[in-house]
Structures are given as C-alpha cells and as structure tokens.
C-alpha cells in the first residue's frame, strides 16, 4: 500500500450549506473515527486535508468551504464526478472518554464539520452520556452549517447557537461564542471537544477554565499546513508533534501554548 496514492471515488450527492460551503457525499467504504480527516485530491488542482463530517460505511461526507484551488474546483463539481481520497488520517476525538460523563461540544464556523460525527454519535447513543451541550457560533445565521439538523439535535441535547451579526429572521443569541458559555448547565465532570478559528479557541478555552471546566479534559482540533498527511513532509510539525499524525486533536495542555501565542511559539509543547 502506497500511502501517497489516492483512491479514486465518486461524488454521489452535493448539498449546499452556506453560500461558500457545501457538503459532498463521496462513495467509499472508508472506516473512520469522528475527528479524522482525509487528503482530498482534485486531479490537476492539488490536494487538501478535509475533515470527515459524516459517513455510514458506504460513503463519507466532506463539508468544504471554497477558499483556494482544490476547494473552489470541487465546488464546481457535480454528482458523478471523481475525486481522489487518501486516509483516513489523524487521531480523532476522544469522545469515548465522555461516556457516563457530561459532554460539551464547542464549534465555530466551519469547525462544526469535524465535530458533526460526534454529534451524530450522541444522537444515536444518547444514553451513553450524561448532559450534552453543543455550543455553536457563526458569523451570520446564513453561514451556519447543518441547520437542517438543528431541530433533531435540539431534542437530545442543549443546543446553544449564536451569531456575530444577526440577519432578518434570526431570533437567537447575538454575540461571540464566549458570551454563551455561562449558559452551559454542567461544569464538573465534563469532557470538552472544541474546533474553530484560533482566536475563538483561545478565548473560549480561557473562559471555560475560569468557569471551572477542567483543562485536562479539554480537547482542541488544530489546523496546520499539511502536505503528506502521514507525518513525513514536516509542514504540520509543531513542538515535536505532527498535527496530521498525532493530532489534529490535542488535549488543551498540549495545544495551549499554540493557542496563546500562535506566531511566537511554534513550539514548545510538552
């Protein structure tokens, strides 16, 4: 098995999420853990690491925001078109740790994509967990992902939504994610899983610690430049770990330094 060679796979379904984000269902029997990612090839355009946002053994979902070559091109594609996949890579969320405990899921923007498999797992195995809260913030209501699932999700967990700027029709909370943190009903005995823009992760984790959430039980997913996805090319290396291989999910105490000082300390996590 050559880990650099992608398998070709067909897009079977494309769903619009927001003006710049779509969810692609791709035919593959890939088995994955929530939080893992694939290296997606669009032939001729390159490769990009993309988190798996869902899947059922016959297909996986990739929720992709169009920002560059690969991601723009896949946005132009139609069901039936073929892409390349390598993976799954990465460690995934340690959501099992939350069994018989409380679970807090914090997501910002596109960061909900890698967390969705965990949410769906909770939906199917609700009884395994105590209190579950999903805290999700986006810039605007129209930029929220998976809105069509919110009603279902709200039935089985606390769904706290917020936007930075409201739009007509939005009746929910307005403000950055931190402004909702005090609405979380469970503090002790909570496993926190978090993914979002670096600034958001920084402020939310600082606040959560203040509120009494145990830092050792917080997990963050990091994004880095990645080329190979298998811990050889070096690009994602930070402080002696490879984000692709040892992460992308890290316990807070490892990721903390990076979150605090993204430019200065590329490093010294221990």
């Amino acid at each position: 098995m050559n880990p650099y060679i992608p398998n070709t796979a067909k897009i079977t379904e494309i769903k619009d999420e927001t003006p710049d984000t779509k969810t692609f269902t791709i035919e593959t029997n890939m088995q994955f853990r929530p939080g893992q990612f694939v290296e997606l090839s669009v032939f001729g355009y390159g490769e990009a690491p993309i988190s798996i946002s869902g899947g059922d053994g016959n297909s996986i979902d990739l929720t992709i925001r169009a920002v560059g070559n690969v991601t723009n091109k896949i946005h132009e594609m139609q069901p039936g078109d073929v892409v390349g996949l390598r993976g799954p890579f990465g460690n995934g969320w340690p959501y099992e740790k939350a069994k018989k405990k409380n679970l807090l899921i914090v997501a910002g923007g596109i960061g909900l994509a890698p967390l969705r498999p965990v949410v769906e797992y909770v939906m199917q195995h609700r009884a395994e967990f105590e209190d579950v809260t999903l805290l999700y913030g986006a810039r605007k209501p129209s930029l929220m992902l998976f809105k069509y699932r919110f009603d279902e999700w709200a039935k089985k967990m606390d769904l706290l939504l917020t936007v930075d700027e409201p739009e007509p029709g939005w009746t929910g909370h307005v403000g950055v994610v931190t402004t909702l943190c005090d609405k979380i009903r469970h503090v002790a005995n909570t496993i926190t899983l978090m993914c979002g823009p670096p600034v958001m992760m920084k402020y939310v984790s600082m606040l959560l610690i203040e509120l009494g959430f145990p830092p050792s039980e917080m997990y963050l997913s990091l994004e880095r430049n990645m080329k190979c996805g298998i811990g050889i090319c070096g690009h994602c290396a930070v402080g002696g770990v490879y984000v692709c291989r040892d992460g992308p999910v890290f316990p807070l105490h490892k990721a903390l330094r990076f979150v605090e000082k993204p430019h200065e300390v590329q490093g010294v996590l221990d």
Partner: protein, 249 residues
C-alpha cells in the same frame, strides 16, 4: 476561446520573442487562446482582449496612454517580464539626472521622457511574470491556470532555493557577487547553473533579507559601490530605499 494580446512598450522585445519561443507549445496554446493582438507577429491587431500581456515600460506620454487604453480594454493584465514588473534595466536611467541622461540626444530627445517605472505604477496589474526574459515555465503555468481556472502565484522564495535544489556549488564561495539570495525564484537558478552569478533579473522577493545579503557580500570583500551597481541593474525601482540606505553606510 480566450482572447489575448501581447503588447510592447519601450523594451528590447525579448519577451515577445520569448513568447514565440514557446514554439511547439504555442501551437497547443493556440487551441485555447486566440491571439488578437501581437504587433511583432501579426498584421491585424485589435482590442479588447481577455488577457493583455504587456512587456516593457512606458517611456513616453504616448506609451502611458497606450497602457491606460490596454488596461481599459482588457480583463486581466499581465506584466510580462522584468521591465514591466519592476522597471527593469530601463529603470537604471532613474539613477541619474534627466539632464545628464538627455545629453546623449544632444539634450534634445525626440520625445519628452517619462521615468521608467513598473507598470503597476500606472495601472492595476493582475499577474507579474518576472525575469529578463520571463520564464517560459511560469508563463505555461499561468496559461494553464487560466484554462483550468486555478490561481497563479509567484514564488515567495529566493533563487538560492532553486540553486540548492539543483545541487550547484555556491558562487559566493568563489567570491562572486551573486544576487541569488535576494532574487525571486522561478528561473530554476538559470545563471548559477550555467556558472554565472545571478544578476537579479527577476527582481527582489517579499522575504528578502537585504541587510544580511549586503553584510555577507561585504564580508567577502565586495565594495559598497559594486553592491549598489548590482542592486540597481534590474531592480532600481523596487530597491531604491535599500540602495539609499546602502549609500549612507
């Protein structure tokens, strides 16, 4: 079909020639592109075009007007070659006073001169193909990117990187004044690979550490004047400040 034009302002037209030097590839390219305007090779030339490749830099008011017109009548404007991208060799005249320069025309030049500047001094430019002449590989990259609707990006590293990738012996070790460390990659270190120091024809790149380069050269015993001369050769316009700083040292 994407319509293109190759336009020429004051320059040696080496970049036009380089365009024709795509040769076999040019015939491939012509399957996707329609050359609407190319004075060197065509009788009938028209505007507007989707992509205008502009070589050279305006040195007369007429040419400035021509450039403005090209900008108005094109969707994408590409600075073709170093003259257009940085002012290039013609920019050297900006190192001296106009009066001094005009003496060669008995102080009576046929046209009122305009200072050679990079063309983005006058109009917005979408892409720049550096090099004197530009690199054919990069042009093909750009041409492919346009067909495939991809982005095109200049390298943000130095000629040394490409030189090292070709595992050349470094010319600085031989005491040559090589401009590689501050010059934008993309030529595959053409000159050092042929035994000649890089003259900096592709102009500086964003992350260039001029002071370090100058310090290195001076440690080698190269004089300030020589460095100023080398820095001015292709990049007087973008490096003006560095050169001024260097003069003060």
């Amino acid at each position: 079909m994407i319509s293109i034009g190759i336009f020429s302002l004051s320059c040696c037209e080496g970049c036009s020639v380089q365009f024709l030097n795509l040769e076999g590839k040019l015939l491939e390219v012509l399957k996707y592109y329609n050359i609407e305007n190319f004075r060197l090779a065509k009788e009938l030339n028209s505007l507007p075009v989707d992509i205008a490749f502009v070589e050279g830099t305006p040195t007369t008011a007429e040419e400035v007007k021509k450039l403005l017109k090209i900008r108005r009548d094109s969707n994408v404007l590409v600075a073709l070659g170093t003259c257009a991208a940085t002012g290039g060799v013609p920019g050297l005249v900006n190192t001296m006073s106009k009066r001094e320069a005009m003496k060669v025309y008995d102080s009576n030049p046929p046209y009122m001169p305009v200072d050679p500047k990079p063309i983005d001094y006058y109009v917005p430019v979408e892409h720049k193909l550096y090099g004197c002449p530009f690199s054919k590989d990069e042009l093909m990259e750009l041409i492919t990117a346009v067909i495939m609707n991809k982005s095109f990006k200049n390298r943000e590293s130095s000629v040394c990187v490409e030189c090292a990738l070709r595992e050349n012996a470094c010319l600085l070790d031989k005491g040559e004044l090589c401009m590689g460390p501050v010059t934008r990659a993309g030529c595959r270190a053409l000159c050092p690979s042929n035994g000649a120091p890089c003259r900096g024809c592709r102009g500086p790149y964003e992350d260039a550490n001029y002071k370090a380069h100058i310090r290195t050269l001076m440690d080698m015993g190269i004089t300030r004047e020589e460095i100023i001369e080398a820095y001015s050769m292709f990049s007087y316009e973008p490096l003006k400040e560095v050169i001024a700083w260097l003069k003060e040292q």
